[in-house]
Amino acid sequence: MAADPALKMTRKEFVSDQDVRWCPGCGDYSILANVQRVMPELGVPRENVVFVSGIGCSSRFPYYMNTYGFHTIHGRAPAFATGIKASRPELSVWIVTGDGDGLSIGGNHLLHTIRRNINTQILLFNNQIYGLTKGQYSPTSKVGIKTKSTPQGSIDHPVDPIAFAIGCGATFIARTIDVDAKHMQNILKRAHEHKGTAFVEILQNCPVFNDGIWEDVQDRKSRAKASLVLEHGQPLVYGPAENRQGIVFKDGIPSVIDLAEDDDPIERGVVVHDEHPEASSYAGVLATLQRPDFPLPVGVFRAVEKPTYEAMLQDQVDSATAERGVGDLSALLHSGDTWRI
């Protein structure tokens, strides 16, 4: 993406003329607002931005962005994005998907897009429910949830999007929250800066079918205790100032320690957050931090550099051309054994 910081754009330019059709109070509204707010700051001209989505409430997103947009079919958005980005590396390609779209029917494409390290941003709106089809449980729903399709409660162990992304070898992984505008905007910028697949889980409330699922991390009051804000170079400390706690690792297993007010967390063995270790195992330990035993980490879990798919592909084109010259069709047709009559 030819980013041009000199370019002056406004939020409004990124707002399309379509009526937004989500339910009142849906978390998707604030995500949309934040994306529209961040876009002008990225320095990518509107015409070089493409939003690609699958199917779901969340996947209506592209209609509301005044950029190029493609609302595709259920689960396949990453594969569409792959075709776009692999063939046109200069475009800035954003994928919007839901927990059902991305992790149920679309799990395979998420896996392969992530492992190939295609340079796109994947925004997964996790409301732990199928919104658009009116409220069935999703792969991220908690065991026991009663939904239309699980009148006696769900019996599937949920998958954690972050842990899954780590297993797929993601080079950039982050989590943010629909209502935390500042945090989200920062994460969106970081995702955009990253060269490679940037996987971002956005905790999103669905007031109609799964209200309040993220309440403890959304609520300003409970947030400090319920979430752990990851910051590179900072120890894994959370909680209100008077009642800080820290995370320590022992043989790859995390646990919580209480910190006295004047404790130096690092001296106490609290792990210092590092976004960049090549081994994904550090982020893997972070991913196991789950409510209620642990705070839920938000922020950038991991950000490492690896060659991107589209760059390597373009390299092959370039090196083949350098070696063999621009393809000559007539020569191709006459290559190998031929004979004249």
Partner: protein, 632 residues
């Protein structure tokens, strides 16, 4: 195919003057069909391909048919592992690999058992006698030694290929296994002598492929085989098949898959756009991916996707991004792409989806051929989602079909399906290499703000009904598309009933309008009369040969071959109405027949075959005779 002999029996066997450099008499033949058969590991496909290339260089017309098992390498010596390659070559125009080979080279008892009943009566059966022992006979399922009985029915020639090859390669620094692997080239040498094929192309090819003692070994055994043919008493004479009289020009051998791949590459050149191919491997389509992947220096990008859904989705994505986008698969994989192709219909983006059909249902017989996917590719998407279909009819025609498909896709902003099959994919024929200058140039033009007032993604060209192809990166044409019902012109999401009906009608009219571009159907034979034989796809050779054959017996039979299966050519109904009886042979349960009957209410008789094998000419001539004799 030799015209008078639908069974491939050479029609003249008069001894003529000796071949140059040959000390034995040589008989002249019009044409001959040879089948190589051995274990999957015996290199039969390779031997056959080399022989074909030499035959092509010798100027004969030819047609080949590889036939191999689905296993990579089934247990040695079993029927399951037998791999075959048939080549038919002639001094006159031929159309098929021939119904029955004149010559069979069987590398082991299983190869003999699996193939010998196909050989024409009193044809030649060459066996590698070294491989005939009790154990291998039992593995092949033979109770007793079959040779005594076979000697009654065929000219059985016993050659100790293994021993002779070992003898030839003594002293080289090769393992026994490496030595034995060369024996197919000994056999190739024998055959080259027998049919007067030059061997330099093969030696060149070997030189490019191997080095050191392996190269030396292969060349040595090839020459030893040739010398053996000339020296031994086993073959009293060799044969000459004079060059065929075919249109002047430069020729090469080409398989259907290779031609498809080159057609794809050529489209990029002729339309001045980069090509993107997204595919997931599947037999017998994978070779298209393999071949296209070799041409990155044409600006071509290939993407091996994680599955067929990703393959087609990435392809549609690339089309959205402005590429010449293509995806390739076979039946089971194509079916998985249908949901996404429905989206391509709704968003009206240009792309080419190739289906190289194989024998089903389900996994079926993946290496065998059939034409059973026509209705599936035509109708397999939910709701009304019309897509044009082009069916190439010879290996070389696959090149032109690919080119045409891209032109059509871009002109009409629509996905286009190319329907090939396993027979076309792997068979080869001499192909008149087209002059690049003679190929149409159709540089792609994208929508540009300068050409347009207010941009409407679903405004239509009044002529073609195509919507504009506006691609990311174009300032001022930012827009959103998707699978929800779109409003006419604006493309906005809308659920209005009238609009929904209107958009369905527009899409239909757009596809039907494509028929305006077709050339008139060529009728081979009288323009009206008693019998019309219709074909499509890879059955062209067999049908042509059969029709020629019955005509020579005095029947008045005409023939057309459909290349465009959707929409139908506008002159088709008229032609159908001019014949009393219409016969449609298909390697399926009669898919095109069903469509023609429904559309034209003509009593098209369907000749069906679903055995994973191409038509034999005799099956077709018989059906034509029956139809001729039938009451109505």
């Amino acid at each position: 195919m030799t015209a008078k002999n639908p069974d491939g029996i050479p029609s003249s066997q008069n001894p003529v003057s000796q071949q140059p450099g040959n000390s034995k008499p040589a008989e002249q033949l019009e044409g001959i069909a040879i089948r190589f058969a051995g274990d999957s590991g015996d290199g039969m496909q390779l031997t056959g391909t080399r022989f074909s290339d030499e035959t092509a260089l010798a100027g004969n017309d030819l047609s080949t048919f590889p036939d191999f098992p689905a296993e990579i390498r089934a247990p040695a010596g079993t029927m399951a592992g037998v791999s075959g390659f048939q080549i038919h070559f002639s001094s006159i125009d031929i159309h098929t690999p021939a119904d029955q080979p004149d010559v069979l080279i069987a590398f082991n008892p299983a190869a003999l058992r699996a193939n010998v009943d196909d050989v024409r009566p009193m044809g030649m059966v060459i066996v590698n006698i070294d491989s005939f022992n009790q154990k291998s006979l039992t593995r092949a399922g033979y109770g007793d030694d079959p040779l005594p009985e076979l000697r009654e029915r065929f000219q059985v020639v016993e050659v100790p290929f293994t021993t002779l090859n070992r003898a030839a390669l003594q002293g080289l620094d090769l393992s026994q296994r490496e030595i034995d692997r060369c024996k197919n080239f000994f056999a190739l040498g024998v055959l080259c002598w027998l049919y007067g094929r030059p061997m330099d192309a093969t030696e060149r090819w070997l030189g490019g492929k191997f080095k050191g003692d392996v190269l030396e070994g292969n060349i040595r055994t090839l020459r030893a085989g040739h010398a053996f043919g000339e020296t031994t008493e086993i073959f009293p004479a060799s044969f000459v098949i004079p060059a065929a009289k075919i249109a002047p020009g430069t020729y090469r051998n080409i398989t259907g898959n290779q031609a498809l791949a080159w057609g794809i590459v050529a489209a990029g050149v002729q339309m001045e756009r980069n090509v993107f191919l997204g595919a997931y491997p599947i037999t017998p389509a994978s070779d298209v991916l393999h071949e296209v992947a070799r041409y990155r220096h044409f600006g071509v990008k290939t993407f091996q996707a994680e599955d067929e859904m990703a393959a087609v989705s990435s392809t549609i994505g690339a089309a959205f991004a402005g590429q010449l986008a293509v995806t390739v698969s076979s039946g089971p994989g194509f079916v998985l792409k249908q949901e996404a192709l429905g989206l391509a219909v709704m968003v009206e983006l240009p792309l080419v989806a190739i289906n190289v059909q194989r024998a089903g249902p389900s996994t079926g017989s993946p290496t065998k051929t059939e034409q059973g996917d026509l209705l599936a590719v035509l109708f397999g998407r939910h709701s009304e989602s019309p897509i044009p279909i082009i069916a190439p009819c010879t290996p070389g025609d696959c090149f032109h079909a690919a080119l045409e498909a891209f032109r059509m896709a871009v002109k009409y902003m629509t996905p286009v399906i190319v329907l090939s099959d396993g027979y076309l994919a792997n068979s080869s024929e001499p192909w008149l290499i087209p002059e690049v200058d003679s190929l149409a140039r159709n540089p792609v033009k994208h929508a540009h703000p300068a050409d347009i007032g207010e941009f409407q993604p679903y405004a239509r060209d009044p002529e073609t009904l195509a919507r504009p192809w506006a691609i990311p990166g174009t300032k001022g044409l930012e827009h959103r598309i998707g699978g929800l019902t779109k409003e006419d012109k604006t493309g906005n999401v809308i659920y209005d009933a009238d609009n929904h009906g209107k958009m369905n009608a527009l899409r239909k009219a757009k596809i039907e309008g494509i028929a305006k571009d077709y050339a008139p159907i060529e009728i081979d034979g009288p323009p009206e009369g008693e019998i019309l034989v219709i074909g499509w796809g890879g059955t062209l050779g067999a049908i042509t040969a059969a029709v020629e054959s019955v005509r020579e017996e005095g029947l008045s039979v005409s023939r057309i071959h459909l290349r465009h299966l959707n929409p139908f050519p506008s002159d088709l109904g008229d032609i159908l109405g001019r014949f009393e009886k219409v016969l449609l042979p298909e390697l399926s349960d009669g898919h095109l027949a069903l469509l023609l009957r429904a559309k034209y209410l003509v009593d098209v008789r369907s000749l069906t075959k679903t055995e994973g094998q191409p038509f034999k000419i005799a099956e077709l001539t018989e059906a034509i005779h029956e139809l001729h004799a039938s009451e109505n």
